[in-house]
């Protein structure tokens, strides 16, 4: 309908900006949660040393990988659940960057 558009209405500036912002927020929230979760799981709170030791580093790497896995699994399961419930709330998705 529009001059250059292909039938799809163009998102307004505000919408585009809001979308990018929402994406950023999602990312930084996830990073914050990752930090909190893996710090809690992998490092003791007594701070006898200031550097990450070998064991902690490996733990953090594995923790991050598992955190992402859990993220994916939960998102898949919730999507399935939502679809099974009639699929009215389809789409969305919690997968990051997908």
């Amino acid at each position: 309908m529009s001059f250059l558009g292909f039938g799809r209405p163009q998102p307004s500036s505000a919408e585009k900006i809001a979308a990018v912002e929402a994406e950023m927020k999602l990312m930084s929230d996830m990073l914050n949660r990752l930090n909190r979760a893996c710090a809690k799981k992998c490092t003791p709170n007594d701070y006898r040393e200031g550097d990450l030791n070998k064991g902690e580093s490996v733990c953090l790497d594995r923790c991050a990988a598992k955190f992402f896995d859990v993220h994916l699994k939960v998102s898949e399961q919730m999507q399935n659940e939502a679809q099974a419930r009639g699929g009215a709330a389809g789409g969305g998705g919690f997968g990051l960057g997908a």
Binding site: E21, L31, A39, Y47, L52, G97, A98
Partner: protein, 91 residues
């Protein structure tokens, strides 16, 4: 000019940049206060004096150092994960 790939024009890019800067500031402050809380709770538990003891001061230094290293490392893993996700075709 437009790193988002959303076809934002100059005005929009500027608006977005301003918003992101604000957000970044807010996030930085959040990080800072979390760190203060965390290291205070982990290191300070003796209130027989009003000044930080050498032990507490050392603990705080190590706490900050370690938390920084930790979030640095996790950010790297996070970036790698996102890059890997972005490489796949969207579902």
């Amino acid at each position: 000019m437009d790193p988002t790939g959303l076809g934002l024009n100059a005005t929009e890019s500027r608006e977005l940049e301003q918003r992101l800067q604000k957000r970044q500031m807010k996030e930085f402050m959040g990080l800072f206060s979390n760190l203060v809380d965390h290291c205070f709770m982990s290191c300070v538990d003796d209130f027989t004096s009003k000044s930080l003891s050498t032990r507490e001061t050392g603990c705080i230094t190590r706490c900050v150092q370690k938390q920084m290293a930790l979030s640095q490392r996790l950010s790297e893993r996070f970036a790698e994960h996102n890059a890997a996700m972005g490489a796949q075709p969207p579902k």
